[in-house]
Subunit: 134 residues, 2 copies
């Protein structure tokens, strides 16, 4: 039960983006946040593919949030980078392979847990996080 560095870096970068009105290049982000540049690159690409940030190429290019900071939550970021909690979620939803009784019981725990996590993190917007930072 642990948050990866990827998610940690990604959230920090997102907070930085939320505080800027212009696109920021990977280099600029990596420098100001002291994050490994090449790795951050991969992270931002993941966020872009998920539609959370937008990239523009070229000399004045860089990354910017796709939606406003108010409309982007910590959950959006973390869930894309760290994925959901999935122990043995069946490939096809609906058909739970419930051979062991205790297995099903734990499934119930994971579902409850993930629901709460989503609820909690969805309530934390990037706007909130970047305001508090000032």
């Amino acid at each position: 039960m642990k948050v990866s560095k990827k998610a940690y870096y990604g959230l920090r970068a997102s907070i930085a983006l939320a505080q800027s009105d212009r696109p920021l290049s990977i280099r600029a982000l990596a420098e100001s946040e002291h994050l490994p540049e090449d790795y951050l690159e991969k992270i931002l690409q993941t966020l872009r593919k998920a539609g959370l940030v937008e990239a523009t190429k070229g000399v004045t290019g860089g990354y910017a949030l796709a939606r406003s900071p108010k409309e982007t939550s910590a959950w959006d970021i973390l869930h894309v980078l760290d994925g959901p909690i999935e122990m043995f979620n069946p490939p096809v939803k609906g058909a739970l392979p419930c051979l062991q009784v205790s297995h099903c019981q734990t499934n119930q725990v994971w579902r409850t847990l993930e629901g709460k996590i989503e609820e909690t993190l969805s309530d934390i917007s990037l706007e909130h996080l970047s305001h508090n930072a000032r």
Copy 2:
């Protein structure tokens, strides 16, 4: 953001223990739950060192819950096996090494998150989980 198999196995074993009034041997547990025996052994030892289960050696020995199922929660088990969420928790509590602003902001997120997780899982007792199983 993910629950390990260790925690998954440990929780299942704990549910099984909650349903038994006699100590269960590792072998018996592993068989009934279809879990890898040698690995389960390590898990139960961890739980024992944390004071959650008690072991008795010898031919009629085995493991039993240290407290009643009602007084043992999913949080107790999972938190011991999967540890807390610690990104960059300072070795010495209280003195947060807050060089980067966004770093501190994320710390706030982790704390909030872990608080909610603890709250949620503490509410789920082994008794609850083993009753539903019937």
